[in-house]
Subunit: 156 residues, 3 copies
């Protein structure tokens, strides 16, 4: 089909995950995935609170590809209520587990901030539900046009 790629794939294992206070969210998720052999997955739910959040936004008016001068890095001490943790795991071009996460967090004022997550530490708790996939022909590699690692789906 033009303009869209997709693959039907039954879900694999489901995991309920708890990351305790002080631990880093992204790094621990990657360690978990490595230990369990999870190479493809999506985050179904993520709730808790976070601190020391490093993330990026894309500069207004920027064009693709996304490059360093076209992004804006943020470093927020927080703590923030973790309102949304969206993301997926797919192997990168070296076959390594690659965890792509976007975060939304609530400030004391009730305002919400967020972006592409570099890393965050857990504040009081972080509770994640994750579903595994084992699809053939899906990988992530650098998109020359987009400038960022991107999922590619081989269609039969």
């Amino acid at each position: 089909m033009e303009g869209i790629w997709y693959k039907e794939t039954p879900p694999g294992r489901w995991f309920i995950i708890k990351i305790p206070p002080g631990e880093t969210l992204g790094a621990r998720l990657v360690e978990f995935a490595r230990a369990e052999g999870v190479t493809q997955a999506a985050i179904v739910s993520g709730i808790g609170s976070v601190k020391d959040i490093r993330f990026r936004g894309i500069k207004t008016g920027a064009k693709v590809p996304i490059t360093i001068p076209r992004i804006h890095r943020h470093d927020v001490e927080g703590p923030l209520e973790l309102l949304g943790l969206t993301g997926n795991i797919f192997p990168n071009e070296r076959g390594e587990i690659d965890c792509h996460l976007h975060i939304t967090g609530g400030l004391s004022s009730g305002e919400v901030i967020g972006g592409h997550l570099y890393e965050a530490a857990v504040f009081a708790t972080c509770e994640i539900v994750l579903v595994e996939f084992r699809a053939e022909g899906i990988e992530r590699y650098l998109s020359k046009s987009g400038g960022v690692p991107t999922v590619y789906i081989r269609q039969e």
Copy 2:
């Protein structure tokens, strides 16, 4: 049960979907659903980046039904990090596939904006996980009291 309607339904097929740069998000999802015969579904995960986002908020203090004078349309060039794509697919009163989407996106400043999505274009990538349902007795039609197309669940 009073004050809540629900239906137990086993999940059907799962799809991993990639919409490439420049394509419109909502229109492509509807085309996908039509091609695969997906009439009921929920979005489990949506990550990537978007541009040219058109969405609405409801005016503060407005009452139901939601009418044109009670909403506020926004047109944001972006690009935005796609932080959340929430939504479901159910057939409307004409039996057509109807895709209801809400979006949250991160600005360069780290602030987050969003609302009921009219349409957005993909910036660098858009990666979606979707789960299908095949429940009996669920449809979407215009709620006279609410003013918007709404899911109705027939309970036995």
Copy 3:
């Protein structure tokens, strides 16, 4: 594994839920769970609109444990587009159904607010997809270090 607890668990029943205008979101979800005997679950998707939203943020610079003086309560009349409803259900230390929800909502201006949800009423509609779990050895109790009820996973 150090720094992370997790449990593999197959999903149980799936539910499509509709909460109609004027009903309270959290209270109705708990009633539903009680009626259906759902003691463990995650929200997969939540879309619609809400009003009279009461939620909290954590004060900037606060340390754990989370205590009353360290949080900031918000009371927003709205209505808001419901952009994200994240959460899980696990039994608390008294064996009761405990529903932990975080909310993000879109203002008329397009700005997004949110936090740990106390309660909200449905405005035009609220459509939720929920997946049940039946894992052994998962419960929620007050974390002394965190100050809030937290999921604990017993690992074999």
